[in-house]
């Protein structure tokens, strides 16, 4: 392992939610590091804290206690605008339900993150086309989501996550809405992207999906239960 600083470093990470009169401890003292170029599957039953962890790593939520550093930046020191910029430039999100804009072409969906980036029109166009090309949808650029299969829609969503050349892709149950064959294709795509150097962190509850990752972190009751590194599949 190199001595380069980790992409993500969590130290004593805690997240409490107040539900009426009860306090739910969603994350308890989580310490973990994820390096550049890793391919991590985050697993655990629902309520285990894995989604809370992902939201935290995605700079969508703030820890109650503890420290979280993303790409060398302490999340606690970033204001809302700086967090938005971090999500825009450093992170890419992929969701279970694809979250594409209806009645909007694949190309325009992919361009969405670039709307919040200073870049000239031509470069936006080139980047979006390149990203769709990368996920194998060069011939579907003008199609609306309703004209695409589930697998194709998720590819558009992955192209959208890639378009701003992020260092890390965060995928929340990316194959949860897909059949097995399509899920395998999508996981193959994540593997290929990871081979190109993009860090991939994905949440799943399916063992065969997690098999694609080289590291599996299992959450239970707000704590990391196991953290196993594996040889490449």
């Amino acid at each position: 392992m190199s001595t380069a600083p980790p992409l993500i470093r969590a130290e004593g990470l805690c997240k409490d939610y107040v539900m009426g009169r009860n306090v739910v401890h969603a994350l308890i003292d989580v310490d973990v590091e994820i390096d550049n170029g890793e391919f991590v599957a985050v697993m655990g039953p629902s309520g285990s804290g894995k989604s809370t962890f992902m939201n935290m790593v995605g700079a969508l939520d703030r820890p109650t206690r503890g420290r979280l550093t993303i790409a060398g930046r302490d999340l606690a020191e970033l204001d809302d605008d700086e967090q938005a910029r971090l999500r825009n430039e450093t992170l890419g999100f992929v969701f279970q339900q694809f979250m594409l804009l209806a009645r909007t072409s694949a190309l325009d969906n992919v361009k969405l993150p670039l709307m919040y980036t200073a870049m000239d029109r031509d470069e936006k166009q080139q980047r979006a086309e390149a990203a769709l090309n990368r996920v194998g949808l060069a011939d579907r650029m003008d199609h609306n989501p309703s004209q695409l299969s589930g697998g194709q829609q998720q590819r558009v969503a992955i192209a959208r996550a890639l378009v701003n050349r992020p260092r890390m892709i965060l995928a929340d149950e990316p194959t949860g809405a897909l059949d097995t064959a399509t899920a395998e294709e999508i996981m193959g795509l994540f593997g290929a992207l990871n081979a190109e150097g993009v860090t991939v962190v994905l949440v799943t509850h399916e063992e065969e999906i997690a098999e694609h990752a080289r590291r599996i972190i299992r959450f239970r009751d707000g704590r990391i239960q196991t953290d196993q590194r594996r040889q490449a599949a």
Binding site: L60, D80, A84, R85, R103, M115, Y116, A118
Partner: protein, 416 residues
């Protein structure tokens, strides 16, 4: 540093807004209806009010705010029998007495007759006025050619005439009539002057279709009648000195006339004083009231329209909660979301304002034609109306937009 993105973002927001409005075209149109009607009514209201205001100014300019007219009362006026003297005519002495008042700059009697004028083989039915030398000053007439009637001529009954432009046109085909002779009914007179053109009056009558002759000439030669009194001055026109309150002078005039006509304290006047400024104001109040009612109606409509925009924007924000979450996740700042929804509300207001503008212009033209109101459609009104529509949209759109911008990204993403 981050703000370099705003310029790009505005046009993108505009595109999103137009798309959202197009997607829900019918809903958007219904939402805009309040603004459309409100702006349309506002334009009609302002146009009528401004038209009434302009008419008032024009009429005051035409008649002067500083003129009074005194005339004998009608015998049945007041519903009382007053005997044979109740309608005593005003006399030349009354004119002199009134002119001597401190507040009065000029005074002239005026009698009127319908006559047929003849010259150069042409004849023309017109209005003959018997006036004094002051009449031109009081009624704001200028002499275009030749000269006015002098006081001496007025008193002695000289056989001279001053013609209005229409009469010059009809009798002399527009040629210079100075020194020419005309016949008015059976009296002939020499033309000594021509009045400057005045155009149509506020009731549409032709103010240039007139012949002036000395007061005494008219009453003693042209328009003789059985009940004519030798010194009957007809109606007396007065000009109040600039800088004085017309109403104060009017009271002085009334007092003097009561004394001259021996009216006992408590008895009613047997003459009337017309104050043109007051008269015109009263006439214009009707139009102003109409304008005010329309303005109130349009204000109500605009508030309803604004609430409609707020309502539809709240619906839009709720419908697009997941989209908002997604945008936040891919890097939109809360202020980008605020801008997006404010732009959408603004576009709704702008479109509503523009449609309302067309409605307002159409409505104003219709009001001018059907109601025969004087209207004034000024560019400032139109620009202002659209500006108001946008302001209302921004005002009522701000709350929904702020709500959208304050959504928690995670909650928004998970919203079902």
């Amino acid at each position: 540093m981050n703000d370099e993105r705003t310029g790009l973002h505005l046009s993108a927001s505009l595109a999103i807004a137009l798309k959202a409005i197009r997607t829900n075209a019918v809903r958007s149109l219904l939402t805009m209806l309040g603004i459309i009607i409100g702006i349309g009514a506002a334009i009609v209201a302002v146009s009528i009010a401004q038209g009434a205001g302009k008419q008032l100014t024009d009429q005051i300019e035409q008649f002067g705010t500083h003129t009074l007219q005194v005339r004998p009362g009608n015998s049945w006026w007041g519903g009382r029998s007053r005997g044979a003297d109740s309608e005593r005519p005003l006399t030349d002495d009354d004119v002199e007495a009134l002119r001597a008042l401190d507040g009065i700059e000029a005074a002239s009697g005026r009698v009127q007759a319908s006559v047929t004028s003849v010259a150069d083989g042409n004849n023309w039915p017109t209005t003959l006025l018997g006036v004094g030398a002051d009449f031109a000053l009081i009624e704001n007439f200028e002499i275009a050619e030749g000269r006015n009637i002098t006081e001496a001529e007025a008193e002695r009954g000289a056989k001279i005439a001053v013609l209005g432009q229409t009469v010059v046109e009809e009798l002399f085909n527009g040629a210079n009539p100075i020194g020419q002779r005309i016949r008015v009914n059976r009296t002939s007179a020499t033309v000594v002057g021509v009045l400057e053109e005045k155009g149509a009056g506020s009731w549409g009558q032709d103010q240039d279709d007139v012949i002036w002759m000395p007061l005494d000439t008219v009453r003693s030669r042209v328009a003789r009648s059985a009940e004519a009194v030798a010194d009957n001055a007809g109606r007396i026109h007065l000009k109040v000195w600039d800088g004085l309150e017309v109403l104060d002078v009017e009271r002085e005039v009334e007092h003097l006339m009561r004394v001259r006509r021996d009216i006992q304290p408590g008895a009613e006047d047997d003459f009337r004083i017309a104050n043109f400024a007051e008269f015109i104001r009263a006439r214009n109040e009707t139009e102003s009231l109409l304008g005010f009612l329309l303005a109130a109606f349009s204000a109500t409509s605009l508030v309803v329209g604004g609430i409609g925009i707020m309502n539809i924007m709240l619906v839009s924000v709720t419908e697009r909660t997941r989209e908002i979450g997604l945008r936040r996740a891919v890097g939109a700042r809360s202020r980008d979301v605020l801008t997006q929804f404010l732009v959408e509300a603004t576009v709704l207001g702008l479109l509503g304002g523009l449609v309302g503008l067309l409605l307002g212009i159409g409505g104003t033209m219709l009001a001018a034609r059907l109601g025969e109101f004087p209207v004034l459609l000024s560019p400032i009104t139109l620009v202002g109306a659209v500006g108001v529509a946008v302001l209302i949209a921004v005002f009522f759109g701000y709350y929904p937009a702020r709500r959208a911008s304050r959504l928690d990204p995670i909650d928004a993403l998970r919203f079902e």
